[in-house]
Amino acid sequence: MPIKSIKEMSAHERRVHSLSARMFSTIVKSCIILGLVILIIGLGLYGLVLSQQYIDSAFDLSCSAASATGYGADSVSLSKRVMEKYRSLSEEQIQSIGSSRYKALFAEFEVDHDYEALSDMLYSFLEHNDVYDVYLAMYDEEASRLVYIVDPDPSFPYYPGEWESVNRKGMEKFLNWDGEGLLYDIEKTDIYGWICTTGTPIRDESGNICAFLLVDLTVNDVLRGMGPYALQVSIAIVIITIIMAGLLTRKMNKTVVKPINAIADAAVEYVNDKRNGVNDVDRFQTLNIRTGDEIENLSLVMADMERDLTEIESNLTEVTAKNEKISTELSLAAKIQAEFIPHVFPPFPERTEFSLFATMTPAKEVGGDFYDFFMIDDDHLCMLVADVSGKGIPGALFMMVSKIIIQSCAMLGQTAAEILAKTNQAICSNNEAQMFLTVWVGILDLCTGKLTAANAGHEYPMIKAPDGDYEMLKDRHGFVIGGLDESVYTEYELQLDPGSRIFVYTDGLPEATDEEGRMFGLNRILDVLNEDPGADPEKVISNMNEAVDGFVKNAEQFDDLTMLSFEYKGCTQNG
């Protein structure tokens, strides 16, 4: 999926793009994970310590209870008597435990003075200590049984002589205890779950174990102690998490989010300023971000960019102004050039001997082509078409100079060939740029119709006799003007009769190019001319323009295009 630009994002999407929110959730997540790990480890350690402590205190309890049984009651004698009775029973009788018959076998002990005293004593121990049971019992080592002697637990009492099977390993641990450390055993029972039993042996005068004072603890006791701890730690974790996340997010907001938003806002404002043409407000340079990190660097880079852009912009404005000036001057130059050649038609309304029309269409603003015509005296008309090797300003300058020189030479009464030779010399004498021009020039005696013409490397003129077609006149060519200073030009004469026509042009016409690169060509020029051979000069040129436009279509005009069309009507004064 392509990345959206900031403008394409909805307000909601922008809000979701929040560093603070991400930071907050990251901190909360990591704090909770960390807290849970700490909680689990802590609970484990705490549980271990706590259970050790419980066992410790339960063992102490069994010790004190054991020694307490020596006072006010004879636990040793009671134990011995109960065990004696138990051992005297047959296996069958022992297995009848739980029946009233079995209970009756030990009935005498329930009213025994020692039993009552011990029962009261152990009950008071049980009542005042946080343990599951405190009782007096003895193992039947052969059958792995624990025979109860006194068990005061009111909720689940065992009567003297009642027994239950026990784990042999645990039993042996108790029976063989060497008196060092704590005596305890942990086992899983069906009835109570995980139970920890700790105890102290009670010995008779000769040191034989005759009973154990046992204390039972269940895992629930330990868990009961851990509950408050777990709750406290959890609350602490939640509080710390919220405080940490809040503080860090606030810090982040201040040092990261706000500066970045400031830069983003500045960027938006900057573009708005540019759109509205406000150029004298600094957006990035006034940000003043002092975070001392990459964000500060970013703001500094943006400030630099703003400065540089402002500079570039002012340069650009200067360049644009310069270009505008040049373009203004260029169009003024084009205007001067256009007005410098005769452009009012008909040019000599009082003259009935001829009709003349000409156009010049530069490819750039100013061109290098030109046509010219003027009366040398009352009887002589000079007309010419020229093409300078180059376009634009250099071509235009060269054209202006050439036009003046040619006209000056012609006005001095020189012949066509002399005009070209003189112009060539004048131009060659100062032509470092190696510019040159091609010229066709003709001088017509309006009375006799005699045309004297010369050609300096220019296109062939198209001539039409009164009753014929336009034909290309392959006249003698001299070298271009401005090329070599010793060039020689020869002139030729043509007799024009009333109705004769001349069409001269520059290479822009045959070389007009269409989109596929094909050229208009000389044959098309002749075809267009002969399609309407009787057209007057203005019509000839409009026909030609139409044909060229239709041929070129959308291709760019590449070369200047200049045409001059002339019709001789004959001399009325002498005719």
Binding site: S389, G457, G483
Partner: protein
């Protein structure tokens, strides 16, 4: 478009032109020629693949000719009919040494037969 390729052989420098030599491309050719004429005694401009020459292109040829007249010779080879007619019309055929090579000549001879 004008493709200009240059080949130097001792003191003989050959430019092969392909495309149109007009006011747009003539500046390229002019700077290319003017910058490489030092020590050249024979300049050859091969026009075999040249389609068109405008007056601006002729100006470059004329400038090159004037320079080469001082330090050696210049000739234009393999000129096609279209360009030959431009040379003839402008009088350049009178001042340029135009030489068509064996291949072109053979072709012409064959056509004549």
């Amino acid at each position: 478009m004008l493709n200009i390729s240059k080949e130097m052989e001792n003191t003989r420098l050959t430019f092969s032109l392909e495309g149109k030599l007009d006011s747009v491309t003539s500046n390229d050719l002019e700077s290319e020629i003017m910058n490489s004429l030092e020590g050249v005694e024979e300049l050859v401009v091969d026009c075999e693949k040249l389609e068109y020459v405008s007056s601006a292109g002729l100006r470059v040829l004329l400038a090159a000719l004037k320079l080469m007249n001082k330090q050696g010779t210049m000739k234009v080879t393999n000129v096609c009919d279209e360009i030959m007619s431009i040379f003839e019309m402008t009088g350049f055929s009178e001042i340029l040494t135009i030489e068509n090579n064996a291949k072109t000549q053979a072709k012409e001879t064959k056509e004549e037969e």
